[in-house]
C-alpha cells in the first residue's frame, strides 16, 4: 500500500521533517567546513539547490533508460556535469565566492545529499516530483547552512557578511559587542573565535538539531500537523 503524498508535502518535507542536515545528518562535511561566513553558507546552498534540482530532473527522466547495475556511475556523471557547469559559472562571475568555497564546489559531486536523493527519490519518481523534492531538500540545506553560518559569524567574528563581488555589504556588529560589554582591554570588540573553529561548528549544529527536535515534538504536534497525517494514512 503506497501512501499518497501531495506535491506540496513532497516539497516541504525537505525543510523540516526530512531535513537533510538536521534529520538525516547528510552532507556534514561542507556544512561544517564552509559555514564561517553568512554569504558562504548562502552561496554553497544555492549551488547545491541548482545541482540537486537539475540532477534530480535528469536522473528521473533517464531512469528507465539506464540498466540497473550502471545506475551509480550514470548518476555520478550527471551530477558531475552540473557541478562542473556551476564551477565554470562561479569562476567566471564570482571569484570571491570561488576563493572562499574553494575545493568544496567540486566536492558537491560526492555530496551524499545529492547522490542520496538521486538513489532514494529521483530514480523512483516522476520528473515533476523529483524537481519538487530537489528544490525542497536544497532549500532545507540552504536554510540550515545560512542559519549555521550566520550564528557562527556573529559569535565568531562579530560581523555579518552579505557581500558578493561589489554588491551588498559587510555589517560590523562592534557597537552591539560594546553594548553587551564583550570587549578586550583596548575597548575593541572581542568575538569568540572558538565558533569559527570546527568544535564551535559542531556545537552550533547540535543546538540547531536540538531546537528542531524540540519544535517538532512540542510546537508542530500541538498544531495538529502530525496527528492529521496519521488519521489520513489510517483512513487509506
Amino acid at each position: 500500500m503506497v501512501k499518497k503524498v501531495s506535491n506540496w508535502q513532497e516539497f516541504i518535507k525537505g525543510l523540516y521533517k526530512e531535513n537533510p542536515v538536521l534529520v538525516s545528518t547528510l552532507g556534514l562535511c561542507p556544512t561544517l567546513a564552509i559555514s564561517t561566513q553568512t554569504i558562504n553558507g548562502l552561496s554553497m546552498g544555492l549551488s547545491v539547490i541548482i545541482v540537486l534540482t537539475f540532477s534530480n530532473l535528469i536522473i528521473s527522466l533517464i531512469k528507465d533508460f539506464i540498466p540497473n547495475n550502471l545506475r551509480i556511475p550514470s548518476y555520478i556523471v550527471v551530477i558531475a556535469t552540473f557541478v562542473t557547469i556551476i564551477k565554470i559559472l562561479i569562476t567566471a562571475f564570482l571569484p570571491d565566492i570561488d576563493k572562499a568555497l574553494g575545493i568544496f564546489i567540486p566536492l558537491i559531486v560526492v555530496n551524499c545529499i545529492i547522490l542520496g536523493r538521486a538513489e532514494a527519490f529521483a530514480s523512483k519518481n516522476t520528473p515533476f516530483r523529483s524537481v519538487l523534492d530537489g528544490l525542497g531538500m536544497g532549500l532545507g540545506f540552504t536554510l540550515v547552512l545560512t542559519v549555521l553560518s550566520f550564528v557562527r559569524e556573529v559569535l565568531g567574528s562579530g560581523t555579518i557578511t552579505l557581500k558578493i563581488g561589489e554588491f551588498g555589504s559587510i555589517i560590523d556588529l562592534a557597537p552591539l559587542f560594546k553594548f553587551i560589554g564583550l570587549v578586550d582591554e583596548n575597548g575593541d570588540k572581542a568575538p569568540m573565535v572558538f565558533f569559527l573553529l570546527p568544535p564551535g561548528g559542531f556545537l552550533v549544529l547540535g543546538f540547531l538539531m536540538g531546537t528542531i527536535n524540540y519544535l517538532k515534538r512540542n510546537i508542530i504536534s500541538s498544531l495538529g500537523f502530525i496527528k492529521k497525517r496519521v488519521v489520513k494514512s489510517d483512513g487509506k
Partner: protein, 198 residues
C-alpha cells in the same frame, strides 16, 4: 517495461562532455578576464599608489605612479621544487629592485604547514634583499646564514621553493648587464673572504 540500453552510460558521458565543452567555450573569455582583474587587484594591493602597471615582459610589470616615476616592480616567479609541485610567487620589488613583499599564489603546499611561508615571521627575512642566488638561500642552512631566519618548521621544501621562485622572478626583472654587474660585485666579496681566511 524498462527499456534499458547497454550503451546508456556511453551516451550520457558523451552528452555531458558536449554540455561542459559548450559552457566552457561560452565562458572561457570571461574566466580569463576575471583572472586578469584579480591579478590587477593583487598587484594594486602591493603598490596602492601605482597608477598603471607597464608590462616589461611576460612576467614582469613596472609600477608607475601619477607623476610617471617608477615606484617598484611586480614579478611573477615560479619554482617546481615545492612539496606539492609547482609554486607560483608574486614578488613586489621596490624602486632599487630589492624585495619589498611577496605572496605565494597558486600552489599545492600543505595548508597550515607549507602555506606558512606567507606569514610575516618568514617574510621578514627576505625584505630588503636582492632577488638573486647570491643573497637568497639555495640550501637549508642558508636561511640562517643569509637571511637570519629559520625555514618554516616542517616545511623546508616549501621554504626553499619560495626562495627558488623569488630567484626565478629576479632573473625576469634584471636585464643582462645588471646581472653581470652583480656577479662582479660578488667576486669582490670573494676576494674579501679569501683575504679573511688567511
Amino acid at each position: 517495461m524498462k527499456k534499458t540500453n547497454k550503451y546508456s552510460l556511453l551516451i550520457i558521458t558523451f552528452l555531458s562532455g558536449l554540455l561542459i565543452a559548450g559552457f566552457y567555450q561560452l565562458l572561457h573569455n570571461q574566466i580569463e578576464e576575471t583572472k586578469q582583474k584579480n591579478r590587477m587587484a593583487l598587484q594594486k594591493s602591493f603598490f596602492p599608489d601605482a597608477a598603471t602597471f607597464n608590462k616589461m615582459n611576460e612576467n614582469a610589470y613596472e609600477a608607475v605612479d601619477n607623476k610617471g616615476e617608477i615606484i617598484g616592480y611586480i614579478v611573477y616567479g615560479v619554482s617546481d621544487k615545492g612539496y606539492g609541485g609547482k609554486v607560483n610567487v608574486i614578488v613586489a620589488l621596490d624602486e632599487n629592485k630589492k624585495i619589498k613583499d611577496f605572496l605565494m599564489i597558486e600552489h599545492n603546499e600543505t595548508p597550515g604547514l607549507g602555506t606558512n611561508v606567507n606569514k610575516d615571521y618568514f617574510k621578514k627575512g627576505f625584505l630588503g634583499k636582492s632577488p638573486n642566488s647570491n643573497e637568497l638561500p639555495l640550501i637549508k642552512d642558508d636561511f640562517i646564514t643569509k637571511l637570519g631566519i629559520y625555514p618554516v618548521s616542517g616545511a623546508t621544501y616549501s621554504s626553499l621553493a619560495i626562495s627558488d621562485a623569488i630567484i626565478d622572478a629576479g632573473k625576469k626583472v634584471f636585464k643582462e648587464n645588471e646581472e653581470i654587474k652583480l656577479d662582479e660585485k660578488y667576486s669582490e666579496y670573494d676576494d674579501i673572504f679569501f683575504i679573511m681566511e688567511y
